[in-house]
């Protein structure tokens, strides 16, 4: 019986390959505490938002399980370790979503469609990630086949991340947007801008849910910092 209210789950899936070492990792690590601060300032949203962090390189790990970030006494940081396996990230994300959403529902919460912000600074080193991505995102409502708790995936690409590859990560295409670092911009600064986008999206989506709307709210062209390009125009 769902008597605990509605929650909005968000995930940050972040690349911790060796190339991220340095300022980029520092900025990526700062996302979580900044989000916690933003939610602490708005208790109405803070009660409704759950956030989790998954990192990936050669394998994927849960850095922070989906939780109320302001109830954590410490927030973990990120460390680099290896290559860039997108497949590992998607497999773990699927596994986490399944267990987290089912857990929340078992606890009596209604769960909004989850959203996953996917941050990478390079191309995937594995060839078979498409399979894992399929399994994560495919869902046929009519027949019920696929993954029921598929997330909305919002890709963030910096530095060596390939725009076309990242574009394939958009899901669903009509609800999501792609954010790429602008040409010639500084990668660490771009990640900081993406953090702002992520946080404002979480807050706006929460606010929209409170006001009776639904769906993920993502800033569009003209609403993002200058070092980020937004791709939200899908004709194909």
């Amino acid at each position: 019986m769902a008597d605990q209210g509605m929650l909005l789950p968000f995930y940050l899936v972040v690349d911790v390959s060796y190339s991220m070492l340095g300022a980029k990792l520092k900025q990526a690590s700062a996302i979580l505490p900044e989000l916690a601060d933003a939610l602490a300032r708005n208790p109405i949203l803070g009660d409704k938002v759950r956030f989790g962090v998954v990192d990936f390189s050669d394998d994927a790990r849960v850095v922070l399980p989906l939780c109320d970030v302001n109830e954590q006494s410490t927030l973990p940081g990120l460390t680099v370790r290896g290559g860039t396996s997108y497949g590992a990230a998607f497999r773990l994300l699927r596994k986490q979503l399944e267990s987290d959403v089912n857990q929340l529902r078992a606890d009596g919460f209604k769960v909004h469609r989850p959203a996953a912000f996917f941050l990478s600074d390079g191309e995937p080193t594995d060839d078979d990630w498409e399979q894992a991505f399929e399994e994560l995102t495919r869902f046929d409502k009519a027949t019920g086949t696929g993954f029921k708790w598929y997330p909305v995936i919002v890709p963030f690409g910096v530095e060596a991340a390939d725009r076309d590859t990242m574009r394939r990560l958009l899901h669903p295409k009509d609800k999501s947007k792609l954010y790429m670092m602008a040409e010639g911009a500084n990668a660490a600064a771009a990640i900081k801008s993406m953090a702002e986008i992520l946080i404002s999206s979480v807050l706006a989506s929460g606010q929209s849910a409170v006001s009776g709307g639904s769906g993920l709210v993502l800033p569009g062209k003209g609403q993002v910092p200058p070092d980020i390009d937004v791709d939200d125009d899908w004709l194909n």
């Binding site: 208790p43 302001n70 009776g212």
Partner: protein, 571 residues
């Protein structure tokens, strides 16, 4: 020193004479300082009519271990049930203890005194661990029910978490109830350290309600596990405390004087079901930026014929936070014959910027229109609900359009198209018609609704029956689309209605989804809370506080109208 300083004995107030005297007050206050002692002493020693110290939540919800002292007191006397009234305000006791004066001296001329007892995890300031007379091992006592957060409406108990326990002045048995002999309770006031003497028997302080700081367990006074009775201890404590300003370190500010005040009363403590959530504890309501004549909270109560009605509409946390108006409304009416009560609730759709206007319009107009229909037809079953809803919808539309035009003077009324109006104003509506007099123990009722504001019946046995429909039942992803005026479904069946009879003891209520959502299918905590709280009609402000209970993530406006039968007066 007492034998078991960590286990203050409860005041069994009905045995005030026997127990408490035996407790050692006969000693004239030896080791009298144990706070728990104080109660019996206060009680017995001087026929203390003044003994009733009413304390609210005075203390930290102290750690589990430390509580053993005072809680045991509640149990030492013989497995008294531990009553977790404080659970209802999980974790925020301090906020309420702060800046509240919790001690009041009752009027000595009162025949009964109330001792506030918070048995359970809180060591009482002053350590009074009284329990109600019947609670002594009684499972039937209402307070024995662990989920007693909602017992507040029992008139024997104050609205505060204090449970009032009639305390017969020990003057019945012990040393006289002459007010002149009143024991004046010695209260420690850290502000100015003044203490009034007291005590008819012995010169020791009878009672020191200094909160957990002086508890047997808190404050690290392990040298003196329970009895801070000696004057040295007392004084040592004083200096330990130092200057705490107006509050001791646990935020309790005891009332200084040992003077009887001619007034009584307690601040109302908000209700919480489950976890309160940060919003409930942190949000400070903001006044509206525009005066829409909609108060933050509206309450009505009273009797009509053979029914007792409570109605309340409370602005939700999210609107309080965003400085938006309450978008819910209720309306009440009666047919000209006085036979039928009409109650209406309306829930403005949050995305509409004039939804509050729509809701209050409907709540005002619907009872009158239904009453007119009842005058014509006599029975709610004969009312053409669809036509009535159509009329309401038209009114919402036209009045809304005028309102929008007045807000944007550049526009002519006719320039505002329908889509704009419908986007700006939308409200659900649920109408209840029920008989004011039961015949042969049964009352007829009728419900008609558009939207997701449910109607429920609460049986006298605490079971719930939904009279309309439970929102989202069977659907896994709730749709955010809600049917709402001014749009009326194209087919008559779109306006749902239901009718039936209810037993006299049943409570019929309508509510908006601000209450309906946390209630869910009524099998959870909220259902149990409301079933307990609303067994009998509470006083109106308590009803409003119950409608506005705190529960994490439920921040919508809350509205409920509940109808009880007035019990037949017994000859």
């Amino acid at each position: 020193m007492r034998d078991s300083p960590r286990s203050p004995r409860p005041v069994d107030v009905d045995d005030a004479g026997a127990d408490t005297v035996a407790d050692g007050t006969a000693d004239g206050g030896r080791a009298a300082g144990t706070r728990i002692d104080a109660a019996p002493e206060v009680d017995a020693a001087a026929g203390a009519p003044g003994a009733g110290i009413e304390t609210g939540i005075g203390a930290d919800p102290a750690d589990g271990d430390g509580d053993a002292g005072s809680r045991d007191g509640g149990e030492a006397g013989g497995e008294r049930p531990s009553l977790d009234l404080i659970a209802m305000r999980a974790g925020s006791i301090e906020d309420y203890a702060r800046d509240r004066t919790y001690f009041r001296q009752p009027d000595p001329s009162e025949a009964t005194r109330r001792i506030a007892a918070i048995p359970g995890p809180l060591p009482l300031p002053g350590g009074i661990a009284a329990s109600s007379p019947a609670a002594a091992g009684s499972d039937n006592h209402p307070l024995a029910d662990a989920s007693t957060a909602a017992r507040q409406n029992d008139h024997r108990f104050s609205a505060a978490p204090a449970t009032g326990v009639p305390l017969r002045p020990a003057g019945d048995g012990a040393a006289g109830g002459d007010p002149a002999d009143d024991i004046s309770v010695t209260l420690r006031n850290p502000v100015d350290g003044e203490r009034s003497a007291s005590r008819t028997s012995g010169g020791e302080p009878a009672y020191r309600p200094s909160g957990p700081a002086s508890g047997p367990d808190v404050g690290g006074r392990d040298d003196d596990a329970g009895g801070l009775g000696d004057r040295e201890d007392y004084e040592r404590q004083e200096s330990d405390q130092g200057d705490q300003g107006d509050h001791d370190r646990h935020g309790v500010r005891p009332l200084a004087p040992a003077v009887m005040h001619p007034w009584t009363g307690m601040p109302l403590v908000p209700f919480v079901v489950g976890v309160a959530g940060r919003a409930f504890t942190e949000v400070v309501p903001t006044l509206l930026s525009e005066p829409w004549e909609l108060p933050d909270t509206a309450v009505d109560s009273g009797r009509l014929g053979g029914v007792d009605v409570r109605a309340a509409s409370v602005r939700g946390l999210s609107h309080r936070y965003d400085s938006k108006p309450r978008q819910d409304a209720y309306g009440l009416g009666v047919d000209p014959d006085g036979r039928w009560l009409v109650a209406v609730v309306a829930d403005g759709v949050s995305s509409g910027r004039l939804s509050h206007y729509a809701a209050s319009l409907v709540a005002r107009q619907a009872p009158r229109r239904v009453a007119d229909e009842l005058a014509k037809h006599g029975y709610p079953q004969d009312i053409d609900w669809y036509a009535l809803f159509e009329t309401l919808g038209r009114n919402v539309f036209h009045n809304g359009r005028r309102q929008l035009a007045s807000m944007a003077p550049a526009l002519d009324v006719d320039d505002i198209d329908e889509a704009t109006v419908v986007e700006a104003l939308a409200t659900t509506v649920t109408i209840l018609v029920c008989e004011t007099q039961a015949t042969q123990g049964q009352r007829e009722w009728s419900v008609a609704w558009l939207g997701d504001s449910p109607a429920w019946l609460l049986g006298s046995d605490g079971t719930w029956t939904c009279l309309s429909e439970v929102k989202g039942s069977g659907r896994e992803v709730a749709s955010s689309k809600v049917a709402a005026l001014p749009r009326v479904p194209s087919h008559k069946v779109g306006i749902r209605n239901n009718c039936g009879t209810a037993a006299e003891d049943d409570i019929i209520m309508i509510m908006t989804d601000g209450v309906g959502d946390p209630l869910g299918d009524a099998t959870g905590d909220v259902g149990r809370f409301l079933a307990t709280a609303w067994r009998t009609p509470p006083d109106p402000l308590t009803f409003a506080a119950q409608v506005g209970f705190g529960r994490k993530s439920f921040d919508d406006d809350r509205t409920a109208v509940a109808v009880w039968s007035v019990p037949e007066p017994r000859e």
